[in-house]
């Protein structure tokens, strides 16, 4: 049985306005490919990548979502039980940066503090057309406790770093949660309570989680 929330599985969701380069970022990261004419993402698509961090191998389950506002109704399906979110904007488009801020608000409200946030300013190869200053974005990211990276899917810049930082932080976050939970458990009559306590870790995998939100 597939358990996406297994020990070394981490779920990442990519969010951001249409055509900022979410799909291109993922494809560059996972397959090291790039196309100028990437088909519009309808709904969302799934990719996974195995990476080594120190001694650990972990599996990143990555959901690349559609950018158009209308598809936000589906948002919770993808971010509900995500360990991390990569919020992408286009450095040549101020509007797309404003959308990132909306996503941060929504995620903090709906998912809380536990989800690791990382903001990526993509298309730095188009530096001449830049509208969003790096310092401004960095300042904002710091203020909401998110990482910030500048990327170019076209040139393959900054992407490894982005995902690596995200992965490291997700691992750290999970370890923290685990130790907090075991602290709560210790002294109790453990084995049974462990299972009963474990709803959030049990089976709310990417897809099954979505079944609960047929709102």
């Amino acid at each position: 049985m597939a358990d996406v929330r297994g020990k070394n599985n981490y779920k990442i969701v990519l969010l951001g306005e249409g055509r900022v380069g979410k799909t291109s970022l993922v494809l560059r990261y996972v397959n090291n490919t790039f196309s100028d004419k990437q088909q519009t993402t309808i709904q969302a698509s799934f990719l996974s990548k195995r990476i080594n961090i120190g001694e650990n191998t972990c599996n990143l389950a990555i959901w690349d979502t559609a950018g158009q506002e209308r598809f936000h109704a589906l948002g919770p399906i993808y971010y509900r039980d995500a360990d991390g979110a990569l919020l992408v904007y286009d450095t040549t488009d101020t509007e797309s940066f404003a959308k990132v801020k909306n996503w941060v608000k929504e995620l903090r409200k709906m998912v809380g503090q536990e989800i690791v946030l990382c903001i990526a300013g993509n298309k730095i190869d188009l530096d001449k057309e830049r509208q969003v200053e790096k310092s401004e974005a960095e300042e904002y990211a710091a203020s909401v406790g998110a990482y910030h990276f500048q990327t170019s899917a076209k040139l393959g810049k900054g992407i490894e770093e982005t995902f690596l930082a995200l992965a490291k932080k997700m691992i750290e976050q999970r370890q923290e949660n685990d130790s907090r939970q075991s602290a709560r458990r210790s002294g109790g009559n453990a084995p049974i309570l462990v299972v009963a306590d474990d709803t959030s870790n049990g089976g709310s995998g990417a897809a099954s989680g979505s079944k609960a939100c047929n709102c």
Binding site: M1, I77, D197, K211, N214
Partner: protein
């Protein structure tokens, strides 16, 4: 026409559909099949197209007033006449005008990302320009729905077969049914009921794949919306798409179901072999699956025709069920277990567990536990496609019992 003749005609239509309409006749045939229930005049396109053009010049001149008056034009007439214009109305109108502009921007962004493998909708190409005009005219025709990603590829394929004006008429009429209205409006409740109805057909015609997908807990929402909202254009070869559309337009929305099942069937070996992540990858990357058009067409031939009426009726029934469950005393929030450890031992962590009802609630037959909510309830998808939130047990008494393997039709597959 007597029954025999009628039968013969039907047989012929059927045969033609399965051989595929000759490409030279396709545009005309589609127009006939799609029809024009909405009564769109062939000249209507020009009206909306002209309005879009005016809007663009106002945008270019940054003439905000002109833009607004154009966008609000016609929408306020009834309110204006009765003098009942309120701030609330103004706000709605304002947000609608904003959304029209946002739609226009999105249309532009998506143009060259439409059907990229065809290499027809390229920067500055004439087809690209026409696609933009059709989509923008549609946004003005139905601002409530507006442009939704996915529409471009439908309009795009139409444009390759019919004129601009005809494409506009056909496009509006294709979207003129409950399923597409709900899909493109993203009415999640309704969409859910369609997916539940789909499940019933899937379980019937492709039981192994259905069982596997349910057991691994893949939510159909994760891929079917894209398949349907693009009418399969996002991953199938152009000629296959056209051939399937022949069937779709003549037989109606019900054939979306049979075609989807046929597509799943054509790759069933791969699907049955895949685990959770593998399935998610396959189903959201169908374009890389080397689909065999012949097999898809062959499979769609083998599945008995599913009428649109049956599909809609079943979905409606599912929707009523859903509503009823939501309004009934609310299992989801009320039940607290006397002893949560019971759950922990028995069902927690056993998602995909096959179960049946042991007492109480009207039984839907065997089903699969898809999720155990914190403490007290579980979500069960019955094999009939109904999803139910159920209390699992109280005071040690179970509502759901594990089902003995030999009674479970899917267990031994």
């Amino acid at each position: 026409m007597n029954a025999l003749e009628e039968y013969k005609v039907q047989r012929t239509v059927h045969k033609v559909l399965f051989q595929g309409i000759p490409p030279s006749l396709r545009g005309t045939a589609w127009m006939v099949a799609i029809g024009n229930k909405k009564g769109i005049d062939i000249n209507d396109f020009c009206t909306y197209d002209a309005r879009a053009r005016d809007l663009h010049s106002a945008i270019a001149l940054q003439d905000k007033k002109a833009m607004e008056s154009m966008l609000l034009d016609g929408k306020h007439q009834s309110a204006g006449e009765t003098g009942a214009r309120t701030t609330e109305n103004d706000d709605t109108a304002q947000s609608q005008s904003d959304s029209i502009l946002t739609n226009f921007i999105q249309v532009r962004l998506d143009l060259i990302r439409t059907l990229p493998r065809l290499k027809i909708f390229s920067e500055g190409g004439s087809y690209t320009e026409n696609l933009r005009r059709v989509l923008e005219a549609f946004v003005l025709y139905d601002p409530g729905m507006g442009y939704v990603q996915g529409m471009g590829s439908i309009a795009g394929v139409l444009l390759l077969h019919t004129s601009l004006e005809e494409t506009f008429v056909s496009f509006i009429n294709i979207l003129d049914n409950q399923l597409f209205q709900n899909l493109f409006h993203m009415n999640m409740g309704r969409i859910h009921s369609y997916l539940m109805a789909f499940k019933v057909f899937l379980a019937k015609h492709l039981p192994k794949v259905y069982a596997h997908i349910s057991r691994v807990k893949i939510d159909l929402k994760l891929f079917l919306l894209e398949w349907w909202m693009t009418l399969f254009t996002s991953f199938l070869r152009f000629d296959t798409v056209c051939h399937l559309w022949d069937i779709l337009f003549f037989e109606g929305v019900g054939s979306l179901v049979s075609i989807s099942i046929a597509i799943l069937k054509s790759i069933s070996a791969k699907l049955l072999d895949a685990d959770f992540e593998g399935l998610l990858f396959i189903l959201t990357h169908m374009e890389s699956m080397e689909l065999d058009p012949e097999r898809i067409l062959q499979s769609s031939r083998e599945i008995p025709r599913i009428s649109s009426q049956d599909f809609h009726e079943l979905a409606d029934k599912m929707f009523e069920e859903l509503e009823k469950r939501q309004h009934s005393s609310g299992f989801e929030n009320s039940a607290e277990l006397d002893d949560p450890r019971v759950i922990g031992r028995d069902l927690m962590g056993r998602f995909g567990q096959r179960v049946r009802v042991s007492n109480g609630i009207p039984c839907q037959g065997p089903g699969t536990v898809t999720q155990v909510h914190h403490g007290s309830t579980a979500m069960v998808v019955w094999d009939t496609g109904i999803t139910q939130n159920m209390r699992i047990g109280k005071g040690g008494e179970y509502w759901l019992r594990e089902m003995p393997a030999q009674l479970d039709p899917f267990f031994s597959l």
